[in-house]
Amino acid sequence: MHMADALLSPAVGITMWGVTAGTIAYCSTKVKRDLDDRKIPLMGVLGAFIFAAQMINFTIPATGSSGHIGGGLLLAILLGPYAAFLTIASVLVIQALFFADGGILALGCNIFNLGIFPAFIAYPLIYKRIIGRQPSPTKLSIASIIGVVVALQLGAFSVVVETVASGISALPFTTFVVLMQPIHLAIGIVEGLVTATVVSFVYTARPEILQSAMGTRPFGNISVRNIVLAFLALTLLTGGVLSWYASENPDGLEWSIAKVTGAGEVTGTEQPLHHVLAAIQGKTAFLANYAFPSKQGEKAVTEGVTAGKEGQDTSGRLGTSVSGGVGSLLTLTMAVLIGFFLRRETAGKG
């Protein structure tokens, strides 16, 4: 579920960073305003708890495999949406930096996929609705299971959208969806069951913890209208930005955008960074045709040009790929040699 940098395009990565940074800033001001400062250590310690609890595996009955708790919805139940979102985000930051569990550029995507849905969809719209004013063990269990399943389904779907929009993986949209959703349905049911047992346990052992979290304090409440409005804005923003910058693949997303806009060809699908770089490159002129050699090949492949032309293209690319291969080897050797040299220098000094 944690996305890596290697599958992301900068446009998608930076857009999601922006969205996530905005949400973190919003939640931070919310937490700061509404918070009794008792919650600050609670958030940190509960984040560490989730981190530790994720390392304890349980066996899934009848399968022989093992799983661990997800934690997003559990945090929302215990802390309310804003503080929970910040806590999930901080757990993901540590996982990315220390265990490379999800990349740094992908942090925006990962925080969005694993934080927004449990905290701002599953908790207020599903969990709280089912629980109502009078919680009972049955209601708690049903609410936890459905909440986790929905949050994971939405998260998995946005992983697919973000990956396909980036255009590094060759997996077609529909295949990816068909792969991801059922797997995460299974994971969701298991995680939901576990979350339900933990919540029920806490409810029987220390009911005041859940009651204080669910109580009438403004901290845990969040209006549905605000969520709907925020998501509408978010959809428009990401939809607009992502489709504008989307990669060159004529996949489902882009194709449907072309249909919608009525344009025969989607223009402006180049990544903005590439535009800037191309402009710089145009000024420097030297070897201008060399800099993006793969673009032509990529176009030819994706647009399905006739075989003859493609063959010509391939042989044309052969020349450049030989110099590319030789160049790579030389650069690698050079990098390693410089590394050794610097190492000896610093070791000598130190």
Partner: protein, 270 residues
């Protein structure tokens, strides 16, 4: 299944490396954070089939690694541990993308294989640079740097808290699971019915601990802010580091150095 002890030891080791002293360690954390982020964006900005173009980007991790005196084998092992994951995410590319891209004599290589290798290369570069950032800077310094670059205060405090208590709570989780294992008489897996109470107990103890911590902090005058004495400053060295590397990345991104070097080299012999 990852052993809890192993993971915590790994975390400690990576953080201990940051206490080292080298030209890279001494740089202001902000400079290293900005440069690493820019590096990652540049590396992932390449199209699906980029491979040769990525190789010069190896200079950044190699040079920082060499200058910072980090144990190379340790960092390489950490990167290698990630690569199977990258292989897994890229594995679908050869299946779905079978168009021939390169002919090496009689061997036709499809675009899928090239993009698979490209994904592995990207993973190694991005993950490697992130590990080097943490190993030369340390998590706490990275947090303060992010805070000074505009990250909200509440989130910074939350991150620092979380980091501090990871060690405490993972140790507690280790003790709990060890206690269960000793009483389980050789039964390997942790069953569903005992998992809930086990995690639940841990949670309740955690909650009580948080309350004690808060009381202790209030007694010592905590009012929602952490105060720290910052001694680092953004000087000439930092500007040089950030601007120098950024220029290098931009040049690598706009000019295909690999092909120029390769063409020059093959040109000499033909």
């Amino acid at each position: 299944m990852r052993s809890i002890d192993g993971a915590v030891l790994d975390l400690k080791r990576l953080d201990l490396l940051a206490t080292g002293d080298s030209i890279i360690h001494r740089l202001d954390a902000r400079a290293k954070v900005i440069t690493t982020l820019f590096f990652i964006v540049m590396v992932v900005s390449y199209k699906r089939y980029a491979l040769a173009e990525l190789t010069p980007f190896l200079f950044f991790p190699v040079i920082t690694l060499a200058l910072s005196n980090l144990p190379i084998s340790y960092i390489l092992k950490k990167i290698a541990a990630i690569l199977p994951l990258a292989l897994f995410v890229g594995l679908f590319n050869p299946l779905f993308d079978r168009e021939t891209q390169v002919l090496l004599g009689p061997v036709a290589i499809s675009g899928g294989w090239i993009s698979l290798i490209s994904i592995m290369g990207r993973s190694a570069l991005t993950v490697g640079s992130a590990f080097i950032l943490i190993a030369t800077t340390g998590f706490i310094a990275v947090c303060h740097a992010l805070n000074r670059l505009g990250m909200p205060r509440v989130f910074t405090i939350q991150l620092l808290f979380l980091y501090r208590y990871i060690f405490v709570l993972t140790e507690e989780a280790t003790r709990t699971t060890r206690a269960r294992e000793l009483r389980a008489c050789g039964k390997k897996g942790l069953g569903f019915s005992s998992f809930g109470p086990l995690i639940g107990h841990l949670l309740i103890r955690t909650w009580a601990r948080a309350e004690r911590i808060h009381m202790a902090m209030v007694v010592r005058g905590f009012s929602g802010e952490f105060h720290s004495r910052q001694i680092n400053r953004f000087g000439h060295k930092e500007y040089l580091y950030v601007i120098g590397w950024s220029l290098v990345f931009i040049i690598l991104r706009t000019e295909d150095i690999t092909r120029i070097v390769g063409a020059a080299f093959t040109g000499i012999f033909s």
